[in-house]
Each structure stands twice: as structure tokens, then as C-alpha cells.
């Protein structure tokens, strides 16, 4: 029972991150009808940008010393008292990393937003009105470009990136099993859920959110009603890339910065189709359940089996419900 709870919580924590990644795919699909196969690689860029602004820049010779490690007197004094690897020590470490974490997050969000705009303007806008096939394949081509570009720009792969939140261990026992959780992971989960909820509310209640929904309903009608569809397109891409940057930063702290982060995109794509491409609620349920299922598989069968969980799940669900759990059915005219 205790073990079960341990892995259920682990699963919910990774499920929340899946949901945060998925929100980018769904938003772009809603606004532009493009399913972005390269979303995972945009997230990888987010992770690398976080690494650049939180590790490379603060360590540069020209950067002020407080950026790399902020050491006010009271902090040094407190640190000297705290034992190593203690909860308090972890919080104090986090405080001294705070300047570079803030720089890292804001740098990653801004840089990724610019990247998103660039991709949208150069590749996606010429595709307005093209076939689904062409749109899918352009994003597939984008995968190669992004992954090649990242390995030219960044080479370091051993680097530690600072955790976004203090990584205090959380330990408690249920029955006779000890439950181990990382503080940072819990905070990451809360961040991911808040962002997800915020975006859903934004799309539902704000003016620009309604513009996105109107465009999703019918592009040409929305255009003729005075909604600037190109603006909606770029807004959706920027939204996807900024949430992607934060997801990337979280993944960088959990899994390390590496080109394999791009592969997350594929399992999340499976999750998105599982939930239904245009339904935030469906995708949320799918993300959480796949997260938990993965953790259970990890527990019972081991790491390799966990990797195919989303793919098996999506194949099974698509056979029964071709448009995912809560996706709306496409109506075709002959």
C-alpha cells in the first residue's frame, strides 16, 4: 500500500508535467489546426535556454559574482550553521541560487517565445490552408532542424541546472513503508497545474482567448468578423513556446539537459491524441492517467516498459474511440 502510494504520487507529479507540455500542443492545434510534432524539440530548446541563462551566463567572466551565487552575510552565517544535505541547507542553497534561477526562467521564456514567433512566421504561416499532410511533415522537418541546431550550439551535457524550488526531501511513513518525495518535484507539480489551469481560464474568459476559440471554430468567419487570424496564430505559438520553456526548465532539473528531452514530445503527442486533440479536460485526464500508469509500470515491470505505456494506451483508445477520450468528432463533407 505504501509503495503503491509512493508510485501514485510519482505518477501524478510526472502527469502534471505532461499536462503542461500537452497544453502547448492543444493550444496550437486549436488556433491553427496544426499538430506540432516538433513540440518536444521546442521544449528541449527551452531546457537549453534555461541552462544557458542559469548556468553558462552566470559563470561567464563578465557576469557579476552575485549572479552565480548570491552570498549576503546573513546567508553565509545561516549556511555555516546548517548541516550538509539537511532540509534547511537545501532551502539556503536555493536562496543563493535565486538570482540565476530567475534569470534562467525569464531568459528561457523570452528566448523561446522569440523562437516560437520565428518558426510561426517562416514555416507555419505559408502553410495556412494547406493539407494536413504538408503541415504534419513540415513540423517533422522542423524536428531535424531543431535537433541539429541544438547540437551545434550547445555541447555541454554534464551540467547541473539549479532546481526551481528548494529541493528539500520530504519523508514520511505510511504503514511500514517510507515515502520519499523531492520538495522541488512537488513545487513543480503545483507550478504545472497552476499554469495549466490559468491557460484554460485564459482561453475561456479573456478576449484573446475567445479569439482563439473563434478561429478554431471557423477560420474564415473569424477573419471576416474582424479577428486578426495571423495574430491569433502567432499568439498560440508564443503561448505554446513559453509554457514549453517552463516545462523544459522543469525537465532540465529532473532529467538533466540533453537532446533526448525532444523525445518527450512524442509520448505527449500520444497523450494528447488519447485525451482528444481539442479538449483541455480530456488531455488533462489523459496526462494524469498516463503519468500514474507509467509510474505503476515502472514499479512493477521496470524502466523500459514504462517508455511504451503512452503508445500502447493511445493505440487501444484510438481503436475504441477514434477521436480520443473527449475529442470532438470531425464532420466530413463529400
Amino acid at each position: 500500500m505504501g509503495q503503491f502510494l509512493q508510485f501514485a504520487i510519482n505518477g501524478l507529479m510526472s502527469g502534471a508535467i505532461y499536462a503542461l507540455i500537452a497544453v502547448g500542443i492543444v493550444s496550437v492545434y486549436k488556433a491553427t489546426k496544426v499538430v506540432n510534432f516538433a513540440h518536444g524539440y521546442l521544449i528541449m530548446f527551452g531546457a537549453y535556454f534555461y541552462f544557458t541563462f542559469a548556468v553558462i551566463v552566470p559563470q561567464a567572466a563578465w557576469a557579476p559574482a552575485w549572479l552565480a551565487s548570491w552570498q549576503p552575510d546573513w546567508l553565509v552565517a545561516a549556511k555555516a550553521d546548517a548541516p550538509m544535505f539537511s532540509p534547511l541547507g537545501a532551502v539556503l542553497d536555493w536562496v543563493s541560487n535565486l538570482p540565476r534561477i530567475i534569470l534562467g526562467i525569464s531568459g528561457a521564456v523570452i528566448a523561446n517565445a522569440l523562437l516560437g514567433r520565428l518558426v510561426e512566421r517562416t514555416l507555419m504561416r505559408p502553410l495556412m490552408g494547406q493539407s494536413i499532410f504538408a503541415m504534419i511533415m513540415v513540423t517533422v522537418g522542423l524536428i531535424s532542424i531543431l535537433s541539429g541546431a541544438s547540437s551545434i550550439i550547445w555541447t555541454a551535457d554534464a551540467a547541473f541546472v539549479p532546481h526551481i524550488a528548494p529541493n528539500t526531501p520530504v519523508r514520511f511513513s505510511i504503514g511500514d513503508t517510507m515515502i520519499f518525495l523531492f520538495g522541488a518535484d512537488l513545487v513543480n507539480m503545483v507550478i504545472a497545474l497552476l499554469l495549466f489551469g490559468g491557460i484554460v481560464l485564459w482561453v475561456r474568459y479573456t478576449k484573446s482567448g475567445i479569439a482563439i476559440r473563434a478561429t478554431a471554430e471557423d477560420q474564415s468567419t473569424a477573419y471576416s468578423m474582424g479577428i486578426s487570424v495571423p495574430k491569433v496564430f502567432s499568439r498560440a505559438w508564443v503561448l505554446a513556446c513559453t509554457t514549453g520553456a517552463i516545462a523544459g526548465a522543469i525537465l532540465a532539473t529532473r532529467n538533466g539537459v540533453s537532446p533526448t528531452l525532444g523525445l518527450f514530445g512524442f509520448s505527449v503527442l500520444a497523450i494528447v491524441l488519447l485525451g482528444g486533440l481539442d479538449s483541455y479536460v480530456g488531455v488533462f485526464i489523459a496526462a494524469m492517467s498516463v503519468g500514474v500508469l507509467e509510474a505503476m509500470t515502472q514499479w512493477k515491470l521496470g524502466g523500459e516498459w514504462a517508455e511504451i505505456v503512452p503508445y500502447v494506451a493511445v493505440l487501444l483508445v484510438l481503436l475504441v474511440r477514434p477521436h480520443g477520450l473527449m475529442g470532438s468528432k470531425e464532420v466530413e463533407r463529400i
Binding site: Q3, Q6, F7, N10, M13, S14, V55, M84, F85, A90, D93, S151, T155, A156, D157, A158, A159, F160, N167, P169, R171, T177, M178, F180, L181, F182, D185, R254, N255, G256, S258, P259, T260, L261, L263, A295, Q298, W299, G302, G303, E304
Partner: protein
């Protein structure tokens, strides 16, 4: 003395016989080529980029020492991205474009060595060293042309497990990457652990990079292992696993094999995330580069590195990975030179025979003493522990033979 045609031919024939027939049967090439694939991109790019300069240095050093019986040697390195298929393609390309001038090859991974092994037959065979310590390769019956420049991973696991047993450990966990390199010694390690009476409480497979650290650390925590052996990682994952375990306050002691024993990585971790590698130990087949007193060959390297890499980090310190490749090249070079000096043609079969016959060879400091090739591998190593204060790996055992 007048010389007619017949007399000339006669003299030449006699001279030829005196000098040794092979010399003119086959035209001496202008240079010998040794090809190499390196992971300059991909998951192990850091290692590949540290190893690449070794080839420049070795080329200069070997040619300054007279090349292979007077013929200069040249290294042709290419990127593989740590993809075995690319290494194979590089090898086939080198074979097709250099023909018989290609006398040896350095491959970059266990996967590449295994992929290439069956290709090495007849005219396509070349002697082949690599960055791998794969156990399967240490068998001249099945892999006559391939050699391992140190103890196999299985031997490294044996050393570690015996060490754990000697310290009084009872439970051990294996965490390894889902690669050929990670999986190589696991089955053997399980058997050795059982023989020694150690209980393997967890066998956890992870991705070679981008692994889900919190999940793996919780599994380790739940297993309650006293010792944990990490295998199949180079720059990433293993430090994060140790970091995660330390943050949980787990008392688990971590052990590593050759690829997890690099000072540069350990120092970088200490600098970025604190001194949590204290107490980390592992097997290392070679001397570290700073231990130059009894290692004349290292002193030579230091001289060359100081001149050739002035201003780069390699000027003062050669990584263990660079040393491994240097060791592989030294073995290849010795094999080539011995074969050529014995007057044999540099065919793969002749070279393989010389290679298998290397015995009591003083490497000039790589290992504790003179070594012999047994089963195309060198069964010696030593356990070192990392000290975050000084940033050095200090020996905790004597040189062990397996």
C-alpha cells in the same frame, strides 16, 4: 666492372634475398592509416571531444619515434554521434578509400565493436581497438582482430563486488543504462554477487541520458541497498543519481566503473552542486595522469601536451578517457612496429598474431607493472576513491589482477 643485364638481375635477386623478400613483394606505402570513429556529437560528445586531441598528439609522437619501421602513420578521425551504424559506415568508407594502407581502426562503442566484428573477415579485416571494455570482445576465438585496452566490464564488476564483500557489505543494487555498454556485465555481476553471498536487491534500467532521476532514486531508496554500482554512463545521469540519493539522505555507497571515474566530470559536479561525491569509489585500469613519478611515458605525454595544447585544459591534465585511447593506440602501434620489424607484412592476421603474443610489456606507466595480453584484454585495475577537497581520485587498493 661492367655489368650486363643478366648480372644486374642476378645481383638484385641476391640483394633482395639478403634484405628479405617481403620488402619488394609489396610496394611500401607512403604512409599507414589508422582510422577512428569518435562520438563528437550525441550523448557522449564530451568524452569524444576530450579524446579527439589524443590522435593529434599520438600522430606526432609516434612519427617522431620513427613511425612504423620508417613509414609515417596518419590518423583519420570521423564523428559517429555514438551511433554504431555510423561507425560501421565510417569504417567501410575508410576501407573503401584507403584499401591496404588502412592498417587499424579505433571504434567508439561496445555497440560499434559488436556491429563491426562480423564484418572483419578476409580482406576486410583490420585490427581494431576501441573505447569499450565489453566482455564479449575479450575472446580471440570469436573476435580475433579486436582488443580491449584494459580489463573487461565483467572483470571490473568482479573487482568491485569483491571489494564490497571485503568491506562487509551484504546488499547491492545495480543501476545501469539501457545500452549494450550498460547491460554488458549485469548478468555476470548477478552471478558473482550470488557466489560471494551478496544480495542484489535492485536491478534498475535507466535511459543513458535524460533519465527520470526522482523515480530511479525513489526505487533505490525503497530497495534499501547498502551499495549501488552504476554502469553504462559517461557524463550524465550517474552524478544526478548520486545527488538525488544524497538529498534524500540515503546512506547508500556508490561504486562506478571506468567511464564514471573522470576527474573533470567529478570536479564539475562538485563545483556546481556541492561535495556530494565524497566517498564515491570505482575501478580504474590506469594510473591517473597526475601520478607521473613512476610513469616515464606519461612524462613524455606531458611534454607533448604542454607544447601542443598550450592554453587549453589539456595542457596540464589528460583525462582518463584520453589515456584509454592513448593506451589503445600504444597497443596498436606496438603491434604494428613489432610485426614490421619482424619482417612480416602488415596484414590483419599477422597483426592479430603479434597482438595476442604481447607479454611482459612495460607500457611506461599506464599500469602497475609489465602487462600481457590475455584473451586480447589486460586484466589489471585498481580501486580509487574521489576526494572532493583535493579533486583527486586516490587509490584505496593495490593493483589487482583478474
Amino acid at each position: 666492372m661492367t655489368m650486363n643485364r643478366r648480372a644486374f638481375l642476378g645481383t638484385t635477386a641476391a640483394a633482395t634475398a639478403a634484405l628479405g623478400t617481403p620488402m619488394i613483394l609489396k610496394a611500401q606505402p607512403a604512409e599507414y592509416i589508422i582510422g577512428a570513429s569518435l562520438p563528437l556529437t550525441g550523448p557522449f560528445a564530451t568524452a569524444g571531444q576530450l579524446v579527439a586531441p589524443a590522435f593529434t598528439m599520438a600522430q606526432k609522437l609516434f612519427n617522431d619515434e620513427g613511425g612504423v619501421a620508417g613509414t609515417p602513420i596518419r590518423f583519420v578521425t570521423e564523428d559517429s554521434g555514438y551511433i554504431p551504424q555510423n561507425s560501421l559506415a565510417n569504417y567501410q568508407r575508410a576501407l573503401a578509400s584507403h584499401g591496404n594502407n588502412l592498417v587499424g581502426y579505433m571504434a567508439d562503442s561496445t555497440g560499434a565493436m559488436k556491429l563491426m566484428a562480423p564484418e572483419l573477415k578476409g580482406a576486410n579485416a583490420r585490427i581494431m581497438g576501441s573505447t569499450s571494455f565489453a566482455s564479449e570482445l575479450a575472446d580471440p576465438a570469436t573476435h580475433p582482430y579486436q582488443y580491449v585496452s584494459g580489463p573487461s566490464y565483467q572483470s571490473q564488476f568482479d573487482i568491485l563486488l569483491e571489494n564490497i564483500k571485503a568491506e562487509g557489505g551484504t546488499t547491492v543494487a545495480f543501476i545501469y543504462s539501457n545500452t549494450e555498454f550498460g547491460r554488458d556485465p549485469i548478468a555476470h555481476g548477478r552471478a558473482t554477487a550470488e557466489r560471494l553471498g551478496l544480495k542484489v536487491v535492485l536491478e534498475e534500467v535507466t535511459k543513458p541520458q535524460g533519465a527520470d532521476i526522482p523515480t530511479h532514486v525513489t526505487k533505490l531508496a525503497q530497495s534499501g541497498a547498502e551499495y549501488c554500482i552504476l554502469q553504462g554512463y559517461v557524463t550524465g545521469v550517474w552524478p544526478q543519481l548520486i545527488g538525488g540519493a544524497r538529498q534524500f539522505g540515503l546512506p547508500t555507497k556508490f561504486r562506478g566503473t571506468f567511464w564514471g571515474m573522470e576527474k573533470i566530470i567529478a570536479d564539475r559536479i562538485t563545483e556546481q552542486a556541492g561535495p556530494f561525491l565524497a566517498g564515491y569509489e570505482g575501478v580504474m585500469p590506469y594510473r591517473y595522469f597526475w601520478d607521473q613519478a613512476d610513469a616515464p611515458r606519461y612524462q613524455t605525454y606531458a611534454k607533448y601536451a604542454g607544447e601542443m595544447f598550450a592554453g587549453t585544459p589539456l595542457e596540464k591534465y589528460l583525462s582518463t578517457w584520453t589515456l584509454q585511447t592513448m593506451c589503445g593506440l600504444e597497443i596498436a602501434f606496438k603491434t604494428l612496429r613489432d610485426t614490421a620489424e619482424a619482417g612480416h607484412e602488415l596484414t590483419a592476421d599477422n597483426l592479430a598474431e603479434t597482438l595476442a603474443g604481447i607479454s611482459d610489456w612495460d607500457t611506461g606507466g599506464f599500469f602497475g607493472g609489465p602487462i600481457s595480453m590475455v584473451n586480447n584484454a589486460i586484466g589489471t585495475g585498481r580501486v580509487y576513491a574521489y576526494d572532493p577537497e583535493s579533486g583527486l581520485f586516490n587509490p584505496t587498493s593495490d593493483w589487482l589482477s583478474v
